[in-house]
Every structure is written in C-alpha cells, then in structure tokens.
Symmetry: C2
Subunit: 158 residues, 2 copies
C-alpha cells in the first residue's frame, strides 16, 4: 500500500509509461546513432531538416525537433563545423537564419537510414503494423488535446 494513498500507482502513471516506452524504443535506435557519433537530439534536427521540403529557421527547427532555442543554437554550431548543416540568411528578414542539410549531413542520414528502418520494421513486426499506426494516432491525439489546453496547471497548490 502507498504511504500517501492519494496518488495513482506507478504503473498507472502516464508520464512514466511514456518514458518507459520511449526508452524501450530508443534502446533499439540509440546504438545505431551512437555508432555514428550522433546524439538523439542531433538526429531529431537532421530528421526535421530532411522531412521539411524547405530550409527551416532556428525557431522552426526547435519546434520540429522538440528542443529549446538555445539548445538548437549551440548544437547548430557543432553540426555546422562537421558539415552536417549549412547556414544561410533569409532574403526578406535579416534576423532570420536559414538552415539546410549539408552534404555530410545527407551522407550521414543515408548511412544511418537503412539500419534505422530495419530497427523500425522490427518494432512493427513485434507489434503488428496496424497496432503501431493506431498507437501513433493515439499519441498524436493526446499531444493535440493537451497542447490546446489553456494551461490548466496554473491552479494553486496546497
């Protein structure tokens, strides 16, 4: 029995369930990325640039890759040094940077892609493809439902 009694059991906790699931999934991807010297976050930046069919600003990149602006800014420095990304200036707004995938970044993605897809298909085969689709859809619904909420967290705490 719980000592406090007013919290739901750990195995009914959504944050922990999501964390465990993500760790289980990443356990299949991280070794692949690690062999190429890419962190999770760098990979999300590369994926975001690859998925967008246009250059992205730093702010857009932060949104797409689930990172904070200062984190992206710092990461971009190192990724630019390695040729993974290239930096340009927006034509109409001089404040805005314009980030694109660099040649080495594209090569890196091409090198990682096949193993990543194999890991993904393995996960699909374990879950069943329709289960995976349905899970992704539910996660999106959850995210959308909670993001559109008028910050219901501002209530006072006892």
């Amino acid at each position: 029995m719980s000592a406090t009694g007013d919290l739901r059991p750990l195995d009914r906790s959504l944050p922990i369930g999501l964390l465990r699931a993500r760790e289980a999934v990443m356990g299949h991807f991280r070794p692949i990325l690690g062999r190429h010297g890419v962190t999770d976050q760098q990979w999300r930046v590369l994926r975001a640039l690859d998925a967008a069919d246009r250059p992205l600003s730093v702010g857009e990149l932060a949104d797409h890759a689930c990172l904070l602006g200062p984190s992206v800014s710092r990461m971009l420095r190192g990724m630019e040094d390695r040729g993974w990304i290239a930096r340009g200036q927006d034509d109409t707004d001089a404040r805005r940077a314009v980030i694109t995938l660099g040649a080495d970044g594209r090569a890196l993605m091409a090198a990682i892609g096949p193993a990543s897809e194999r890991a993904y298909r393995h996960i699909e085969s374990v879950l069943g493809p329709s289960e995976l689709d349905s899970l992704l859809a539910r996660l999106d619904e959850l995210t959308a439902a909670l993001d559109h909420v008028d910050t219901g967290d501002t209530e006072e705490v006892a």
Copy 2:
C-alpha cells in the same frame, strides 16, 4: 519530399511521437513539481519509494525510476540532506543500501499529491478514461515486447 527518401516521415516516428506526448503531458505536471523545487527525476524516485511497500536498494530504485545507478547515487545525496529519503543498511548484505521515504519526503508528496491528481483527472477528462486506460495498456505492451527482444540492434551498419 524527403532528401534521402528512405526514412519514414517525422510524423510517423514512434520515438518522436512518444517524446511529444510526454512533453505535452509533463507540461501539466512540471509546473506543479517546479513550485515545490522537485525535478522530474526526483519525483520519480519519490513515487517509486511511495509505491513500493518496502525499502528499496539503490539498484532497484534506478530500475523503478528509469534512471542510471550513478544518477540515483548522486541524487540520493541531495535528497537525504533535505530529509526526503532516509538511508539504512540491509541486514543480510552489507553492500546493499536500504532507502526509504523520509518524513519530509512524505510531507512533500502529500503537498504535491492533490494538484498532481487534479492535473491527471484533467487529462482523463480530455481523453476519456477508457482511452487513457487503453493507451497505458498499449504502452506497457510496447515496452514489454521491446524489452524482451534479444538486442536486435547489434546488426552492422553500412
């Protein structure tokens, strides 16, 4: 169109879907924890101790709270200083520490509990209670299925 073409689109990525969902959910919990000076990870340690009906070793705590041993070891030092946890020795194995919730830790959980439950019920009301149950069950299935796999990530990368 994607530059490389052999990766699934970002919105079909399970790691990113799980990350976004977790961030959306934690967006409702983190402000509550923050007002009490508790980090996500510290909260998971407190929850794990509260949920277990017996003292836990450092290693068990790391498992239950999804953390690494060295992280737990370091966190425990600070949490002990604040009286959130207490440290004892196992009777039969002198190597093994025995961690329990301290009085201040219990008080902290009691203070946070109501707001946490309110946030949780808000999430339930947005999703519907059965949707939440079903999502938790699917996440557990996913975790179990992937954790039991014989490390299919060891394949060579091109």
